[in-house]
């Protein structure tokens, strides 16, 4: 099936099998490999991207479901060399260890603040329940999100 998906402002067309998962389309067809595949069972959140501005797990969406929609992946957050405030906060708070969960964590965190710009710590922890960090580095991740919410203060 022929689909056209806008990813980070660029339209990508391809002929895909209906069973192609969106994360495979993003990584293997489009070649944007910042989005990771972790559990592949919609548990870990490593594959989190934005579909029409909202965080979704791209291992649990078919590429054909994204036909005609707008996606943002981790590659689309920064403005050139200028990191997105959430990326900056993750860097400053050392909110990553091995880094594998980081793209999904950042995308989920941006979506979280879009919906709740001034969350409490509890709301951040609750809001990131769909993302697992196997380094268990949650403390600094939460710190980063709170820091980004407060404009880095």
């Amino acid at each position: 099936m022929e689909i056209a998906v806008e990813i980070n402002g660029v339209s990508h067309s391809a002929d895909v099998e209906p069973r192609t998962l969106l994360v495979h389309f993003i990584r293997d067809v489009v070649g944007l490999t910042g989005t990771n595949i972790g559990c592949d069972t919609s548990s870990c959140g490593a594959c989190t991207i934005h579909l029409n501005g909202e965080a979704v797990k791209s291992c649990t969406v078919l590429a054909v479901q994204a036909d005609g929609q707008q996606l943002t992946t981790i590659e689309g957050l920064a403005d050139g060399e200028q990191l997105h405030p959430m990326q900056q906060a993750f860097m400053e708070c050392h909110a990553l260890q091995c880094g594998y969960c980081t793209p999904g964590m950042v995308m989920a965190s941006v979506s979280l603040l879009d919906e709740n710009p001034n969350p409490t710590e509890a709301e951040v922890r609750e809001g990131l329940e769909g993302n697992l960090c196997r380094c268990t580095g949650y403390h600094n991740i939460v710190k980063a999100v709170l820091s980004a919410a407060g404009g880095g203060k």
């Binding site: 209906p18 069973r19 965080a55 797990k57 989920a108 769909g130």
Partner: protein
């Protein structure tokens, strides 16, 4: 994990979806948000020959005041229900339980109609459906019909919908203000409930429904009857596992689930103000 190959049909209206179901019969599966169906297809526990994508039928995504009930389009996403002022005001149990389904990413995709049609005893929404006395409006080749209460759930992961039918609307009676609560016990934040309980009290009595305690979503009728005959919450909750046939799995033995049902039911009743 990749699903078995299938043909994909995108329906842009309920009529188109019903036509596709009529054409393909039980070879076809409706996909709303896909967050129950797609994981099963990836595990190859489900392998429909045809997937009918109904996720873009925007006509069926709405939350309206229906007078004595709140009318919710079948394709309304969990997120939209969770934050709806109308739902929060008139069916607080539904708003609260919806906010505990899966995680934010899941709630951005999953739909109420999909969750009910999936008829998973381990899912949160069927218990809310039972405790609130809600009704689904079902469309099929012979027009519309309504299904209320336990009749919607006919077996393990099985609803009483015909292969040619689809849920189009859910009607949830407005809460009249005598107490409600939702309890969910799981070991990891985003997991399905090991056991869960929905409680809603009204002038007609208290309705209690259990999550993951039986092959189907189920009302805890022994608890309801005990309350109706004047038992206190603790005494009534002790009946929570009566007549239930919970499964035993990696998370919990049968005995542990029975214990949880009793404890969570007591907590839910007390939190709902029933002592």
């Amino acid at each position: 994990m990749i699903p078995v190959a299938f043909d994909y049909v995108r329906a842009t209206s309920a009529a188109e979806a019903l036509a596709a179901l009529a054409e393909h019969g039980d070879e076809a599966k409706l996909m709303a948000g896909g967050h129950s169906l797609l994981p099963m297809m990836k595990l190859r526990l489900a392998a429909p020959a045809v997937v009918v994508d109904i996720g873009r039928i925007t006509d069926l995504s709405y939350i309206r005041d229906g007078g004595d009930h709140v009318a919710i389009g079948a394709l309304t996403r969990h997120r939209d229900i969770e934050i709806s002022d109308l739902v929060r005001q008139h069916v607080p149990l539904l708003a609260a339980a919806t906010g505990q389904v899966g995680d934010p990413q899941v709630r951005h995709r999953g739909t109420l109609g999909g969750a009910l049609a999936h008829a998973d005893t381990a899912a949160d929404h069927p218990s809310v459906f039972l405790a609130t006395g809600a009704t689904v409006v079902v469309s099929g080749p012979n027009g519309q019909r309504e299904i209320t209460g336990p009749d919607l759930f006919s077996g393990f992961l099985e609803s009483s919908l015909e292969p040619t039918e689809m849920i189009t609307e859910i009607r949830v009676p407005k809460y009249t203000g005598a107490g409600w609560n939702f309890q969910k016990f799981n070991r990891r934040a985003q997991d399905w409930a090991i056991v869960g309980v929905s409680v809603q009290a009204s002038s007609n009595g208290t309705q209690v429904a259990l999550v993951n305690m039986h092959p189907t979503p189920v009302r805890a009728t022994a608890v309801e009857e005990a309350l109706a005959s004047g038992a206190d919450a603790a005494t009534a909750a002790a009946q929570a596992a009566e007549g239930m046939e919970p499964s035993s799995d990696l998370n919990a033995s049968v005995e542990y689930r029975q214990h949880l049902a009793r404890v969570l039911t007591r907590r839910a009743l007390q939190a709902a103000g029933i002592n």
